[in-house]
């Protein structure tokens, strides 16, 4: 209770400072909290924003995340089972993990169509190594003693997967997923900014160049909220999973 009050007081103080600072400058440079709230209201009640901007971006981020998992998980499994495969993939993985996201985005824009495919592929390629490593680490974390016990008692494969393999994989995969989900959104925005594909990224760009700073702030709030929501949901999932 005390903590919550202190948090609210801090927030109120921040908004008051913001309002004061906004009175001293042009709305185009620093819009006040009310103007931003109004812009946010307009934004979230605008069908076109949901259909034409937010959902395409979220869809791309989710598709990229899904593709990264679909490719990274089998590779991680294969690398765990046959270490030679892991060694074979290591150079590609090192390149992918070392390459800065904007450069990869630019290359993907050049090689692919510049629209959905580019964004999805950029996200997927950047996150693939994350999943590959997480799955391999998770599989290595399976307790061999418990696996043997299940083998002796001839426990059904599905139950073994559910009770022994998945909890172990989750210890490495859960945190990786949390990082990957937030990064999927960040990379989506970046690629949209660079490629011109319609979505949150280009909406940010447009709001900036048209000096619709209130809308820009509103967009930033939406983006922060999305990343926060994704992180909170996954944190909760993680906590539930690891609860005894």
């Amino acid at each position: 209770m005390m903590h919550r009050l202190a948090f609210l007081a801090g927030l109120a103080g921040l908004i008051a400072l913001w309002a004061l600072a906004a009175r001293e400058s042009l709305p185009a440079i620093l819009p006040g909290p009310l103007a931003v709230a109004r812009a946010l209201g307009l934004l979230v009640t605008d069908r076109e924003f949901w259909a034409g901007t937010l959902l395409p971006s979220l869809g791309r981020a989710a598709a990229g995340l899904g593709l990264a998992f679909a490719l990274g998980a089998p590779l991680g499994l294969a690398g765990w089972r046959w270490p030679a495969i892991s060694a074979l993939l290591a150079p590609v993985r090192l390149i992918l993990m070392g390459i800065p996201a904007p450069i990869l985005a630019i290359l993907c824009i050049l090689w692919f169509d510049g629209g959905d495919i580019t964004v999805v592929l950029t996200v997927a390629v950047l996150l693939l190594p994350v999943f590959q490593i997480a799955i391999a680490e998770g599989m290595a974390a399976v307790d061999p003693q418990l696996a043997e016990m299940a083998q002796v008692f001839r426990v059904a494969p599905l139950r073994r997967l559910h009770r022994i393999v998945l909890p172990a994989v989750w210890t490495a995969f859960g945190p990786a997923l949390r990082i990957a989900a937030a990064n999927a959104l960040r990379v989506t925005l970046l690629t949209e900014l660079l490629s011109g594909a319609e979505g949150l990224g280009s909406a940010v760009q447009r709001a900036q160049s048209w000096l619709q700073t209130d809308q820009l702030f509103a967009l930033v709030i939406v983006i922060l909220a999305l990343i926060g929501l994704a992180e909170a949901a996954l944190t909760r999932l993680l906590r539930e999973r690891s609860r005894p």
Binding site: A28, I109, D113, G114, S195, A197, S209, W210, L211
Partner: protein, 300 residues
Amino acid sequence: MRALLLFLALIPLPALAEEILLSGPPIWESAPLIELVETQPAEGVTFTFRPWASPEKLRKMVMADAPLLAVAPSPTAAVFDANGIGLKVISATITEASISIVGRGDEVASLDELQGASLALPFKGYLPDLMMRRIAAPGPESWQPRYTGSLVTAMQLLLAGKVDTAMLTEPMATLALTQDPTLVRRADLCVLWREATTLADCPPAAAVIVNATLYDRPEIREAYRTAFAALAGDPGKAAGLLARHFPDMGQAKEGFVRIRALDLPMPERADALARFYGAILDVEPAAIGGKLPDPDFYGK
């Protein structure tokens, strides 16, 4: 020692020259500014040129106390004005034949003849997109936008065969044509624009703006016009000037020679610029700040 200092202090200093900052992006319209730097025609004034890389950087220069004369996309000038950032337009520039629709196929007289071809152009809501949308709404019957991050990307997509057509400015259009002989100039945007808007002028896409420190300086305007006239008579010369600040523009000469550049002095030709804003207002009010600029903006 003390005597020497005293002596130095007594020497009358020469009056410090006023420094005026010039700024623009790597486009033909910036070349007259660099010509000013080269010739330094105004007495007691030193012109220096520093490019702006983003509208945000330009905004900061406009709002600074230092005298500034800059080339900006005309919509950006209007957006600044609508948001209370003090500036005036002293000229607008039309560069006829500088924007082409390049692609594979025949020449077209209207966008309907593209029959739904995909057309690469930079960001939605930027000037090329706004002009295209004013000429004809996109759709399967006319043209379908493929937004890219930059003009260069648009050209690359065209060369890679990933799009049917691209909207390219000079020197990119000429460059693309020399790279791939199967490409042709299918239309001049200026011709399409006149046809669709029934306006007499091609789009004055660039505005020459000054901040408050330079509102009443006829000699600066005069110097700009002289520099502009010199380049308009020999448009290819712009390539060499731009190359001093944008090395890539060294090869732009071939593309620039076909440009016909017109200066619209303000406030005399304010009507032409205002009509252009009117046309943009029809398709995307936010792109010019939601309203037409006041007469004050043109220095009336």
